[in-house]
């Protein structure tokens, strides 16, 4: 009811305004005035409005970031972030100066040179010297800015030194999983066909692959038997679906057998250096910790669609793309505890969030990040269960309850990662 009332008032109000303007028009028309005849007084007024708008605009433009300064991110918490922030400072100054000069000129000239009857504009079709100046100057300034930018970019994206600690960040709808290397300091091979509740990242080891193969074969056999049993009762289209399922499972088995052969060959060729032997002691967890003042290479993979790992406080971001591994270098420089002091906020946490639209719960795909001293990091890391305990029957994942729920449930249930 209230809405209807507001709507009615709005519509009536607009109608009144339009009618009034029509009345004004008609009287003006009777006096012989025309829409395109804009009087000197109107031009003066519009010119003054240009000045007013320009002035208020520029003042508010300065006031806004001042009044809302707490919206900005706190100081950069990584070495790379500091480089980026320094370049921001340079760019803000440069752009700020150009912004003010051009806007002041634009609004000032617009208001200053409003139409006066009997006056003529200045004939000034071109001036090659002037145009040369404002071609060359921006070119030089921009080239300098680009070179600075590319130097920083190359430093950020450089290949890591050998032996740099690697951490895997794994994304799926709608949460994050992390993988740390075990005693061997290396992350093992993965394959998406090995993903299941026990092995959410699809780590490939001899044991995991054998288990998955056995499971798949069983599934395939079951599906075939099921199909054959119903072959004479099912309508053709449903039967075709069943055939598809069987073919898919058989294909999976075949491909995993191929993978198995590949793995055995690799182990034969490379011995202990084979990446298939590095996965057993990997640690898979739902918690994200990084040691301070340590160079880290973050590796990103995705299970389903493109996500983006965004760490605003560290000024770091990289897309995670299904089918490929992406990477960045990061060296956190401020621990979570120090940042709590800096921000004067005892509940402050670094946040990893998804920044590429990935589905319905995109807005809540997040995970806190703890940056701590390397001592504290080691204490936290050492107690994480390894993927395959030597001799243990099944693989283990820390806090399996949080992440390995029914995959499909995550879609219909926003915010599984609170």
């Amino acid at each position: 009811m209230m809405t209807l009332l507001i709507l009615a008032v709005l519509v009536l109000g607009l109608m009144v305004v339009f009618r009034l303007s029509r009345v004004a028009d008609l009287t003006n028309e009777l006096r012989g005035s025309r829409q395109e005849h804009i009087t000197e007084r109107t031009n003066w007024l519009q010119g003054r409005l240009m000045w007013l708008f320009g002035a208020v605009y520029l003042i508010l433009f300065v006031w806004l970031p001042y009044a809302y300064s707490d919206v900005f991110l706190p100081t950069a918490a990584s070495e790379q972030g500091v480089w980026i922030d320094n370049m921001y400072t340079y760019n803000w100054w440069l752009l700020g100066i150009v912004f003010f000069l051009t806007n002041i000129a634009l609004f000032y000239f617009a208001g200053r040179y409003y139409h006066r009857d009997g006056k003529r504009a200045f004939w000034y079709p071109h001036n090659n010297k002037l145009e040369m100046v404002w071609t060359v100057v921006p070119t030089v300034v921009l080239v300098a800015t680009i070179i600075y930018g590319i130097i920083v970019w190359n430093r950020i994206t450089a290949a890591p030194a050998p032996g740099t600690m690697q951490v895997e960040v794994y994304s799926k709808q709608f949460d994050w999983t992390f993988r740390y290397a075990g005693k061997d300091g290396k992350l093992g091979a993965t394959d998406y066909r090995l993903i299941n509740a026990e092995n959410p990242l699809g780590i490939v080891t001899r044991k995991a692959l054998a288990a998955r193969l056995a499971g798949l074969k069983e599934e395939a056999a079951k599906a075939t038997a099921d199909r054959d049993a119903q072959a004479h009762v099912l309508p053709e289209d449903l039967l075709k679906e069943k055939d598809k399922d069987v073919a898919h499972l058989n294909r999976m088995v075949e491909r995993l057998l191929g993978l198995q052969a590949l793995m055995e060959q690799d182990i034969k060729d490379n011995g202990d250096n084979s990446t298939y032997l590095h996965g057993a002691d990997d640690k898979v967890t739902k918690e994200f910790h990084l040691p301070v003042d340590t160079d880290v290479e973050l590796l990103f993979r995705s299970q389903d669609v493109i996500h983006s790992a965004y760490l605003p406080h560290l000024r770091a971001q990289m897309n995670t793309v299904p089918g490929m591994t992406t990477r960045i270098n990061i060296k956190p420089t401020i621990t979570t505890d120090s940042m709590r002091v800096i921000t004067n906020n005892s509940e402050f946490d670094y946040i990893l969030m998804c920044n590429k639209v990935c589905g319905i719960s995109h807005y809540n795909m997040q995970s806190p990040l703890t940056v701590e001293t390397s001592g504290a990091f080691k204490v936290w890391n050492i107690v994480l269960p390894v993927f395959e305990k030597p001799g243990a029957a099944t693989a283990q994942v820390a806090e399996p309850a949080a992440g390995t729920k029914e995959e499909s449930a995550a879609q219909t249930e926003p915010g599984t990662n609170k």
Partner: protein, 604 residues
Amino acid sequence: MSAVVHPQAADNSGHAHADLHQHKQSFVSKYIFSHDHKMISKQFLITAIVMAWVAMIMSIMFRLQIAYPGESFAFTHFFLGDKWAPNGVLSPSMFLGLVTIHGTIMLFFVLTGGLSGTFANLLIPLQIGARDMASGFLNMLSAWFFMAASVMMLSSLFVESGPAAGGWTVYPPLSVLPQAIPGSGTGMTLWLFSMVLFIIGSLMGSLNYIATVLNLRTKGMRMTRLPLTVWGLFLTAIVGVLAFPVLVSAVVLLIMDRMLGTSFYLSEIYIAGEALDNMGGSPILYEHLFWFLGHPEVYIVILPAFGISSEIISTMSRKPIFGYRAMIGSLMAISFMSFLVWAHHMFITGMNPFLGAVFSFTTMLIAVPSSIKVFNYITTLWRGNIIFSPAMLFSIGMVSTFIVGGLTGIIVANAALDIQVHDTYFVVAHFHMVMGVSAIFAMMAAVYHWFPRMYGRMMNTKLGYWHFWGTMIAAYGVFIPMHYVGIGGGPRRYYEYTEFPMFQGHFMDLNVMITVFACMGGLMQIIFTYNFFHSIWYGQKAVENPWHSNTLEWTAPVEHVHGNWPGPLPVVHRWPYDYSKPGKPDDFVPQTVPLEEGEEDEGN
């Protein structure tokens, strides 16, 4: 059909023939299956206005949700009903749908179809002195493909699983897998086929514009005497012809991945408890193909805007555009370079960092021609004699918003800086400023300026003033604070920010501010829409050359005639910007006035 007239055929013989063809036309041949470029331009414009309203109402609905998460709005419920807005609260999946379709409609249907479609059709033949487009039939088809694409896009809003919801860039695998998001079902299929229709229409239009500009210029109309509007529209058409087909290929591959089980963009995906068969594809391939169109597309949007604002600023300042040749040169440079910058959308996709450096470099350089344009606009205003028609106000507004958007472009072009703000609201604010608001302002300017040419009547100037100032304040009120939301790390396409302690307090205050200004901006367009439609029927009758302009379209009679000029085509003797030329009695000299003895022509 009686309307089969080939005016061009008769042109060269110089016969006055057009008046012979003022035969009665049926409603259908005059308004629906019209071959006349003036009627087709009106069809484009009115379709675009309808689409713009749809997109704007969408933006208000999702802005309300962002600023007031979880609150009920009768407005939202009225448009979306119980299914998509239970209890008046926008649902998360429809939120993404609205964001996606808003972007698609604004970029393709309003600022490509609406802006180039309308004004290329209206202005190219009239400003170069042609009877009509090179092919009236193709031109009609282009309008009807545009219309069909619009209907198909809108129909995707009504399907069971909702419209496409993966963002207007529709990146795979999200856009391929209905398991990943419901919008990737029928809605996505409709989106893809709508885009194919749109592109076919756009290509037919563009080829026509190019052929017309190259072949049908009247006597004396050298390329260096073309108004900058025609230059802008001409280069836009060239960019469109080169870029759009690449999008078709990207879309066709996407359709194949969706329907035929191919793996162009898919690899190693485990979703909904199942490992898919697809191996070996790459979503990055799609991103390259998409942005190879996607980036030139933003220049397809802004080049006509440059042309329009150049023309209006010069006319209403009563002063020649400063640096006519530099303006043409920078338009050409921008068109050429628009093909060399696409991967700056992909700095953080895992593309080779070396490419990041290369594309950073080329992208920064495109700022040079853009800054030349801004300096030239400002110099044109300097010591002018500015008549503030609504069109002029919008043109100045366009320069102002283009400055802001252009400058923030220097931030996002820098690969290292982009890491921090990529996909945040900073980027949203940047592109809305530089090509959203700027191009819309230019489009508004063009509507006010050429309305008498289109409808033979004047729009109301006073309402135009209210519309301009309201829109200007709203536009800045929306997009300046939005930059700070992005600098604060606010990601785009988030349904709500309630789950993040860092996005509370002042961060949400900024969002409320943005939404309030967005609603104000929406209301202001009611004034425009009323003014527009009211003036079509009841506006003051126009005179032949209301703005005392030099260009040829104002030498044609107010009443539209088939073939534009009754009698022979006008002959051009000078460039279009002889405003306030010393030694002339009036402050304008139409292009049809012969040069005096010893007089120099700037367009020579």
